[in-house]
Amino acid sequence: MISVMVFLPLLFALVLLLVPRSNGPVLKAVAFVGAPLTFIMSLSFLHVAPGGIAQDSLRWIGGEVAAAYHVRVDGISLFFVLLTTFVSVPAVWAAFSYADAARLRGYLVLLLLFEWTLLGLFTAGDLLLFYIYWDLMLLPVFLVLVGFAGSPEARRAAWIYLLYNLAGGLVLLAGVVGVVLQSHTFEVLGQSYTLAPVLQRWLFAAFALAFLIKTPAFPFHAWMPATYTQSPTSLVAMVSGVQSKAGLYGLIVFAMPLFPEAAHFFAPTLLVLAVCSILYGALAAIVQNNAKTLIGYSSLSHLGFVLLALFAFNFSSVPASVLMIVSHGVIVAALFLLVGFIEERVGTNDLGAFGGLAAGAPRLAVFMLIVSMAALGLPGLSGFAGEFLILIGAWQTQPVFTSFALIAVVLAAVYVLRLFQSAIHGPLRVPAQSRVGQIIGIQALDGKDSMFDLAPREFWLVVPLLAVIFFLGIWPAWLNDRIPSNANGAAQAAVNEHV
């Protein structure tokens, strides 16, 4: 069952390849069935939480070193899987307005392949399988940036993205081999190994480096601004909404349980990096003029909170982190989608070049308001719940680091409001060449105040994301209670021992 879900996007991608490139409606129909179907299938695993597990294992490689095709969904990976399948639906749907109709097929195929690799990663129960998907998921992003983003800057960004992440990947591979030489199997989940402390530290460092690059966390974020800014809308929604959680997932599920002592040894370092990410991301976001770059840096800041929670080792570390991860994934995906819609209308992301869109797009303005408020952590929306739980928890064990992190809560208000105000409020101004500019050029704005508002497709694809933002904001316990209290064996054991 799990494998069926994981490979469903791949299957639909292959089906897409059979449809002629010119047949737009059929292409869209196939993609429009594929992504939601995967989401519905992933819902069938809701029953595993809390505490349960669904898994399949097939012998894959035997002999001296064993590996299995082992897929699993447990109380933690369930939410990463759900996040993936859920965010993929609007992301794929948003791609329908991709500019070059002749190349829509390739773009949709790559998005579905990306979803497949992400699902594979979050369900991998075997270290080898995990690593395989870890590397594979770079390829769709690289290819989209090279072939489908359309600008020379994007093609350059593809390099930065690829080399950074593949370098991280190969360091991870070295770490994986190091583990396997001790364990003689790639199936390490749920086992406990007593590795020598020094070895643990080296291996943990290798794992953590790869994971921090992927997240990204300060100071490994150099690939992030270019990638986020240059990616087309759907891709960046998936990269920031889902892929950026892969590293955190790796920390929670693999690195911390495998190397508990090393995790404690490196905790101060990682806390420093977490606080640096939080503050640096927030400060950098304040001065950005490009909307996508701004959101990218805000994401750096928000994911720093998750690192803070994980390495503060307190009772709510894992549940609060997962809540924050899911909530951030949904919020940031919604933000990028909305910014993408704005870009399609005004032809730019430069906050200095446009503004006052509320005048002609009231529904867009309202959506933008809700998502912005969620991003800055307004109570009642999901962003608040995650951040609040993390701060309460972290305060009890790491008050100093936490108090530094608190500064970012104020800074978040500054950059989010700046983004919202300059894009939505004030007098309407847009570049004359853009779509909106031309509409306005022909007819004056009088009376018709929704001339370039969200189309029904754009409207409905954001609504589910908003629903989740409200739902998790009002009832975070729904998610929190589903994370088992002894989540994830050794990680929590390490936590308990520390407390």
Binding site: E64, I132, D135, W159, L170, A174
Partner: protein, 477 residues
């Protein structure tokens, strides 16, 4: 069969004899009909390699010697020999493309290629220093000529000349080293060298060092790689492909047999090999970065790949040999696949040697571009391909080989990261949108798809379900 006190086991020699007969048949056909069609000559060669392979099948897993112990079929010979015969068949297929360079004389071209392979088979099976030298010379002499078979092109002549001059020098090192080793052990048999190696006599060490220089030259290990880029770039595509695979297979057979027979676990005398591996991985990967010519890029890549394969021998571990064979087979398929694509795009000529010619290829010829992407992924070691499992096995060998082995593993990782840029440069070109006029593309004959299709299948199968092949390799050891 015994002739004058020397016993011959025809079953063991059958693959070589089959190729000898094939080579003579090709020459005969060429002689009898001055206008023998290329298809016929290469067809005889292909049939011959199939027969040779059929004769090899019963030898799988066997360990026996013949010619009074001077020639063997065993774990060192079989896998490498199979790769050699495969290389011959693929090279003949690539040479049959319409515009392929064969020096205007397909008969002698095909015969030389076959004799070259025979030399490789002799190297793989030889258990004495003399046999090894004979094999290397037979292989090399034929290759010197073949490198120049793109005759009217100056680059091809230059390649042949450079290869002859530097190759002869390497042969000199090899024969001098062999002589000193004979002096150290009073025997030309490799097995007899073990006591001298254990005693680390100066004579042995000097001899071994000189021999290693010769071998490193043939393998294009750095710092003895300087001939490689020019020779690989200048030679006809099919011959370049043959060099990168067949010469490596034969020479690695010699090196593996030597290392495993003569040295014990973790021998200090393997230090030079360690150094060669690290240098090759780094020089090859960094050298590939700046190349604008795909043949040259693959030349540097083959230097790095040879370095990777030496990692398998680090520490002379238990699983080193099977890792080496696995990687070699994976490398053979991905490298042949890449060369087959370059060759078929230009229908045999050099039009697609320049990386810029690949711009937007994906949108013109999606299947060709997808296949080349797969081969480059595999060379780069991306998961899901044969190259990934190969690298994984090598990495395990490295890390299991003590602190020096760990250094090899680290160099392997660094080399891989760097070379990824070189491989992805080509992929980048293929997927980036066209700027300016797109070149006219033509289709290819079904025959030219054969090596591509076989390589795609092999790269995927070895990359997704490697188990059966690992079992196959280990069972023969």
């Amino acid at each position: 069969m015994t002739i004058q006190g020397v016993s011959f086991d025809l079953a063991i020699l059958a693959p070589i004899l089959a190729l000898v007969i094939t080579g003579l048949l090709v020459l005969l056909a060429d002689l009898l009909s001055r206008s023998a069609p290329r298809g016929l000559l290469y067809g005889i060669g292909l049939a011959g390699s199939a027969v040779a392979f059929a004769y090899m099948l019963p030898l799988y897993g066997r360990s026996a010697t013949t010619i009074n112990g001077a020639f063997a079929t065993d774990k060192f010979a079989w896998g490498f020999s199979a790769v050699l015969v495969l290389a011959l068949a693929v090279t003949l297929l690539l040479s049959s493309l319409r515009n392929a360079d064969d020096g205007g004389s397909p008969g002698s071209y095909a015969a030389l290629l076959i004799f070259c392979t025979i030399g490789g088979l002799v190297m793989a099976g030889a258990t004495s220093l003399i046999g090894i030298f004979l094999g290397i010379e037979e292989l090399s002499l034929a290759l010197y000529v073949l490198a120049g078979s793109g005759f009217p092109r100056e680059a091809s002549q230059e390649a042949a000349l450079k290869y002859v001059l530097l190759g002869s020098l390497a042969s000199g090192f090899l024969i001098y080293g062999s002589a000193l080793l004979y002096g150290a052990a009073h025997s030309v048999s490799i097995a007899a060298l073990a006591p001298a190696a254990a005693a680390m006599t100066p004579l042995f060490l000097v001899g071994f060092a000189l021999l290693l220089v010769g071998i490193a030259f043939k393998l294009a290990l750095s710092p003895f790689h300087l001939w490689t880029p020019d020779v690989y770039e200048g030679s006809p595509i099919a011959i370049t492909a043959f060099m990168t695979v067949a010469v490596k297979a034969a020479t690695f057979a010699v090196l593996a047999r030597f290392v495993y027979t003569v040295f014990g676990h973790d021998s200090v005398a393997l230090g030079p090999l360690w150094l060669l591996a690290i240098l090759s991985m780094l020089v090859g990967s960094f050298g590939a970065l700046r190349q604008r010519n795909l043949k040259r890029l693959l030349a540097y890549s083959s230097i790095a790949q040879a370095g990777f394969m030496v990692v398998a021998l680090a520490g002379v571990g238990q699983y080193g040999l099977s890792s080496l064979i696995f990687y070699l087979v994976a490398y053979a398929f991905m490298n042949f696949g890449a060369f087959a694509i370059v060759a078929m795009l230009g229908d045999g000529d050099e039009a697609y040697a320049d990386i810029d010619a690949y711009r937007a290829l994906f949108y013109r010829r999606p299947w060709v571009a997808a296949a080349l992407t797969l081969f480059l992924f595999s060379l780069a070691g991306i998961p899901g391909t044969a190259g990934f499992f190969g690298k994984l096995l090598l990495l395990e060998q490295g890390f299991a080989g003590g602190p020096w082995g760990v250094a090899l593993g680290v160099a392997l990782v660094v080399g891989s990261v760097v070379s990824i840029y070189a491989y992805f440069k080509v992929i980048w070109q293929m997927f980036a949108p066209q700027e300016g006029e797109a070149p006219v593309t033509t289709g290819n004959s079904m025959l030219s798809w054969v090596p591509v299709a076989v390589s795609v299948a092999a790269v995927l199968v070895l990359g997704v379900v490697p188990q059966f092949f690992v079992t196959l390799v280990s069972a023969a050891l």
